[in-house]
């Protein structure tokens, strides 16, 4: 497969997943502001959200005030924000258009429809939950079309690899929002408010019910963290995402043979091995935020290896 094709497929997956993350993050923010927490009011949640998505500077270049209205513009509609839902959907569709020959008509159709609907929407038209629903619905359609109709060839693995790495990154960032929200007032840990916030995180990841199925009623920090980091059954957990990325890299290696570089596979294998030996107390001892930061950096390194292994064509 052409390196450029592979790269576009990989980014198609990443951008679709990233669109969903942006809308999830926005929904987390909107829900958290529904409850008062700090004396300073509601500003803090949006700020933490920007920090977790590393978009604080960009935001303040275009917007003065931190308000839900501005945040909606920024995270959902703003094409100057490369991580907004609109930017990601546009980019995913552009990648798709460039590699039309590698996509089934169903996948193209789903991408195209998603973008057309997004393009037709205006800020303020829907509330946060409806927006998130809309984005999640389109994301599912695209993902479903990929799973249901694409040949299980290298193109498929590149797309799914993009999804898996982006998902790992995204879950880590959503979790990190929680860390930032809590940061100013340590005494909230373990309080009703604390638990409420964990619940919001679960909801935002559409994992509210599954958490209860897996762990019963009690929502506590260590259980939610365990669920989202180390539970191999949770579809968006870090460990699941890493294992999926590894699986797709393994499939590529089997397909291409050992002669083709496999630094990404080796790196993902090392990360998966480390995860298999981790327990949640260790993570809290290390510090959740530090753990997540390291993790996000490591995912970035694996993505760079993917780039070097496959997308240069070594000419």
């Amino acid at each position: 497969m052409l390196s450029r094709t592979a790269s576009n497929l990989f980014w198609l997956g990443r951008h679709m997943e990233r669109a969903e993350t942006a809308s999830r993050l926005f929904e987390v923010g909107a829900r958290i502001t529904l409850l008062p927490n700090t004396a300073e009011g509601y500003q803090n949640e949006w700020q933490s959200l920007l920090r977790a998505s590393a978009a604080s500077d960009l935001y303040h270049r275009s917007y003065d005030e931190l308000s839900e209205e501005n945040m909606e513009r920024f995270m959902i509609f703003d094409r100057n924000n490369p991580s907004s839902v609109a930017s990601c959907m546009y980019n995913a569709r552009e990648s798709g258009r460039i590699v039309r020959t590698a996509l089934t008509s169903r996948v193209w159709d789903a991408l195209n429809v998603a973008w057309q609907e997004m393009r037709g929407m205006d800020p303020g038209q829907e509330d946060a939950a409806d927006l998130a629903d809309m984005v999640a619905r389109h994301a599912s359609t695209v993902h479903g079309a990929i799973d249901g109709t694409q040949l299980r060839n290298d193109g498929f693995h590149f797309m799914k690899l993009g999804y898996a790495l982006e998902r790992a990154d995204s879950t880590a960032r959503v979790l990190d929002v929680k860390y930032f929200v809590l940061l100013p007032r340590v005494e909230f840990v373990g309080s009703g408010l604390d638990n409420y916030q964990w619940q919001v995180i679960l909801r935002a990841l559409s994992a509210h019910r599954s958490f209860h199925w897996a762990y019963g009623d009690d929502v506590s920090a260590s259980r939610v963290a365990h669920f989202l980091i180390l539970n191999g059954e949770a579809p968006r957990s870090l460990i699941t995402s890493v294992n999926e990325a590894l699986w797709h890299l393994d499939c590529l290696l089997r397909r291409y043979g050992e002669e083709v570089p496999h630094s990404a596979r080796d790196r993902a294998q090392a990360l998966a091995d480390r995860f298999a030996a981790l327990d949640i107390d260790e993570i809290f001892d290390e510090g959740l935020h530090e753990f997540l930061t390291d993790f996000i950096i490591e995912i970035g390194r694996i993505a760079t290896c993917v780039q070097n292994d496959f997308f240069h064509g070594r000419g």
Binding site: R100, R314, G315
Partner: protein, 468 residues
């Protein structure tokens, strides 16, 4: 006064009988429903004509007219012979002017028109591409003015586009009106991609061993014909590449793949000469492949169409194509040229300037319906403005009489009405010269308009060739 393709006097021609019946019994709302359905299908499969930099919808649809244009078997056989003859002569001409230049020595074509032509490529003089073929896909634009009167308007020897519309129009007609295809014996066009692939493989370079690897080279997804490029790559099962996907290493061209470099043997390029190799042509080109021309000249890769093929298809050379047929093939041309005045000849210049309001004047290198004057449809000011342009540079223009282009019944707002059409069949030249029975019919949707180019608001129709 215009020849209407559907009628012979008052009588509906046999070829159109069932279509005429079909239209007569079609309820108006059914037609609107089908039109909307067709549009949705086009939009859905993504067949759009991307026009960037002109504002408006970058993914514009070319209007599709559901009323087909029909040729009988006899009409088609004659066209086919004429097109193949012309394609053969054009390739012979190219081979000649890049070697001994016999036709120029014989005084049949002025040397200036050939050797000073912008498209004449000194870099390939003396090199003969595989099988002596320079132009592998030739789109010949034809118009009809009467029952037996067909004229060639233009030869496109470089990168003619529109073949995807020929294929998609048929696909959509078959999907929407299967009953029409049961009732008429219509020759299929869907063999085109296979034929194109065989043609390209048949001109693999000397150094190629085994099955040739063929790719399509596109300028990228911002190009207006990008859809066509990806469509053809898809149907032929080959890679669609951009310049940056290819690189030269030693004697060969390679493409960058996830499994490392893979050798490429035949490049069907859809970008202009000036951009294919920054080392030989335009240095600022980001679209091309540095060193490509060296590999080409040493027989490591084939480029279709060959660099320099453009010298055969500009409007100045056009006037000499009948001469080429006689000179190289010793035959009389089957298809006629449109009478053409060349403004660098004194007597022609005088005639044209005296009769501007009755003529069509075109730039020698213009295309897409730009840079032309349609005398009878222009205002006095427009004509005077053009007169000044011609005075400044007469070499740059040719003139032709306003042709009475035939019309074909077309669905319009009010119902069905005659609209002017032309035809572009696609002739393939490799080991053999072949074409599928059909082509792209373009239709001027505005009443009275003679300009059918898609960039000027023209539409397209399915083109039928009936079998015996």
């Amino acid at each position: 006064m215009y020849y209407n393709e559907m009628f012979d006097g008052e009588q509906v021609r046999e070829a159109y009988a069932s279509l005429s019946d079909w239209v007569d019994h079609m309820p108006a709302d059914f037609r609107q429903m089908k039109q909307a359905e067709a549009e949705a299908l086009f939009r859905r499969i993504g067949i759009t004509f991307a026009v960037y930099g002109e504002g408006g919808d970058p993914d514009r649809l070319i209007p599709f007219d559901m009323m087909p244009r029909v040729f009988t078997q006899n009409e088609w056989r004659r066209l086919e012979r004429g097109i193949k003859q012309r394609a053969k002569a054009l390739n012979a001409f190219l081979r000649d002017v890049y070697s001994r230049g016999e036709i120029v020595r014989a005084g049949r074509i002025p040397a200036r028109l050939v050797y000073q032509n912008e498209a004449y490529e000194k870099a390939v003089v003396g090199f003969v591409p595989p099988r002596g073929v320079y132009s592998h896909i030739i789109g010949i634009d034809l118009v009809r003015t009467g029952r037996d009167d067909f004229f060639v308007l233009e030869d496109n020897c470089r990168t003619p586009s529109g073949v995807s519309y020929m294929l998609e129009n048929r696909e959509i007609m078959m999907r929407m009106f299967p009953e029409l295809f049961r009732g008429n014996r219509i020759e299929p066009v869907d063999g085109y991609p296979e034929l194109l692939r065989r043609t390209l493989e048949s001109v693999a370079p000397k150094k190629c061993e085994g099955k040739p690897r063929v790719v399509i080279l596109t300028p990228g997804h911002f190009n207006s014909a990008y859809y066509e490029h990806s469509f053809l790559a898809n149907l032929m099962g080959i890679e669609l590449v951009e310049g940056a996907d290819l690189f030269v290493d030693g004697e060969f061209v390679f493409m960058r793949t996830t499994e490392g470099p893979k050798k490429v043997d035949v490049i069907y390029r859809r970008i202009d000469d000036a951009f294919i190799d920054p080392l030989t042509f335009r240095r600022d080109s980001m679209l091309g492949i540095p060193g490509l021309m060296d590999v080409y000249r040493s027989g490591g890769v084939s480029i279709c169409s060959a660099p320099g093929a453009g010298v055969a298809d500009d409007k100045a050379i056009y006037t000499f194509v009948p001469e080429m047929v006689r000179f190289y093939l010793g035959e009389e041309p089957i298809l006629k040229n449109v009478d053409t005045w060349t403004l660098w000849k004194d007597e022609d210049y005088k005639y044209v300037m005296d009769n501007l309001p009755d003529l069509v004047v075109k730039e020698v290198h213009g295309s897409g319906g730009y840079g032309m004057l349609v005398g009878p449809r222009s205002t006095k000011e427009e004509i005077e403005k053009f007169r000044k342009l011609i005075e400044k540079n007469p070499n740059n223009y040719i003139a032709q009489p306003t042709l009475s282009l035939s019309t074909c019944p077309t669905f319009v707002e009010e119902g069905i009405a005659p609209r002017h059409v032309d035809l572009r069949p696609f002739c393939l030249c490799g080991e053999r010269i072949e074409l599928v029975p059909g082509g792209l019919t373009r239709v001027a949707l505005k009443e009275g308009s003679l300009v059918v180019n898609s960039s000027q608001g023209g539409g397209v129709k399915d083109t039928w060739v009936l079998s015996e």
